[in-house]
């Protein structure tokens, strides 16, 4: 009886609307501030995706470009709740375009300047992550750099939780091996 009551209660409650869907619809009906909220929510995701693929100096400008592009093309998004996977795909495509258009460049980081700062070590580890297989590098950057949890990564990228978990563990295992070769942390 109790079970039936709780089931009935669950059926009465409307399913929760994702905040992205509400914001996307608000923007499409003319609310520009709604897009600022979407930017605040998803900028770390886009930043992480780009950081795992393009030189760090280019990331900030590309983040702005991607959100500007998304604003112009928002009407083409069919499922408003799928804003995260949509903008993640735009970011990945933009990273591919960046490498296709730009000439081969060498990123000047603190290592080459001989600095031993905390940031130079960060750049060094980031370079190790960038050399991992593609499936692992994005998930690891989102987890270790952007500080997102596995469930958050799954929800925002549209990947399944199982895929994210596998990518995190296998990627971390490979990173540990590479860090071992480099004398650990």
């Amino acid at each position: 009886m109790l079970l039936m009551t709780s089931e009935a209660h669950a059926l009465e409650q409307p399913p929760e609307t994702p905040v992205e869907a509400v914001l996307v619809r608000a923007v499409l009906s003319g609310d520009r501030d709604g897009f600022a909220s979407l930017y605040d929510l998803y900028a770390p995701l886009v930043h992480g995706i780009l950081l795992s693929r393009v030189p760090r100096a280019e990331v900030d400008d590309l983040v702005q470009d991607i959100f500007l592009h998304a604003f112009k093309k928002l009407h083409t998004l069919r499922d408003a709740a799928a804003f995260g996977p949509w903008i993640a795909m735009i970011a990945r495509n933009r990273a591919v375009d960046f490498h296709r258009r730009s000439r081969e460049t060498v990123e000047i980081n603190d290592d080459l300047r001989g600095s031993e700062s905390h940031e130079s070590r960060a750049n060094e580890i980031l370079e190790l992550i960038r050399n991992l297989p593609e499936a692992y590098r994005e998930t690891l950057v989102l987890r270790l750099v952007e500080g997102m949890t596995g469930p958050e990564i799954a929800a925002r990228t549209g990947l399944t939780a199982a895929s994210v978990r596998v990518n995190l563990h296998r990627g971390m295992k490979l990173l540990r091996e590479k860090l071992g070769f480099m004398g650990g942390l």
Binding site: P14, P15, T17, P18, A21, V22, R25, A26, V27, L28, S29, G30, D31, R32, F35, A36, A43, P44, H47, L51, D60, V63, Q64, L68, F71, K72, K73, L74, H75, D79, A81, G84, P85, H118, E119, R121, N123, I125, L126, V141, R143, L144, V145, G147, T149, G150, P151, A154, A155, T157, G158, L159, T160, R165, L168, H169, M172, L175, R176, L185
Partner: protein, 174 residues
């Protein structure tokens, strides 16, 4: 459990992962305001369905009208006539008349095939046929008016955006 810490930061923290988080955290996204140009219009979903529906209805009405006219014309017997154009000597012009018998063609005349000119149909129609035609025309006009009203209603409905607070039955992807 150490695996849980990597997954959702719960359980016993892994010192190596914590160290990595501390070092790599320096590269984390630093919030910056988004610079949207003022003149950039808000993108809106373009709904072409009403326009397509109106165009399709008009096309259908035109086709229906064409078919109806054709059927009506076919039901009226059209008199056949052959226009004879003599070449050498001018002859007195005679008004072409509907003939029931084969016309006598002079030997020096050249027969020219021409499409018969349509006479005004109204003269050949009986009163009953005319009444039927007018009734059919009224029905067609009524159908077109109804279609236009329905399309306008659809257009109005599709142009009205649903308030965000009324969005229901949406499910998160992934």
């Amino acid at each position: 459990m150490k695996d849980d810490y990597l997954w959702d930061k719960s359980g016993q923290p892994d010192p190596e992962i914590q160290k990595l988080e501390e070092i790599l955290g320096t590269l984390r996204y630093q919030p910056k305001p988004l610079e949207l140009p003022e003149e950039l219009p808000v993108s809106r979903r373009r709904n072409y369905f009403p326009l397509i529906a109106i165009a399709a209805s008009l096309l259908l009405a035109l086709v229906a009208g064409g078919v109806w006219l054709r059927v009506r014309n076919q039901s009226v017997p059209q008199p056949q006539h052959v226009e004879v154009v003599p070449t050498p000597a001018p002859i007195e012009e005679k008004k072409p008349q509907p003939i029931t018998q084969k016309p006598v063609v002079p030997e020096n005349a050249i027969a020219v095939n021409r499409r018969p000119h349509h006479k005004p149909v109204t003269t050949a129609l009986s009163k009953r046929e005319r009444d039927e035609g007018l009734a059919a025309k009224e029905q067609l006009m009524m159908a077109l008016r109804l279609t236009t009203e329905k399309l306008s209603l659809i257009h109005r409905k599709t142009q009205n955006t649903t308030p965000a607070s009324q969005i229901k039955n949406q499910h998160r992807v992934g």
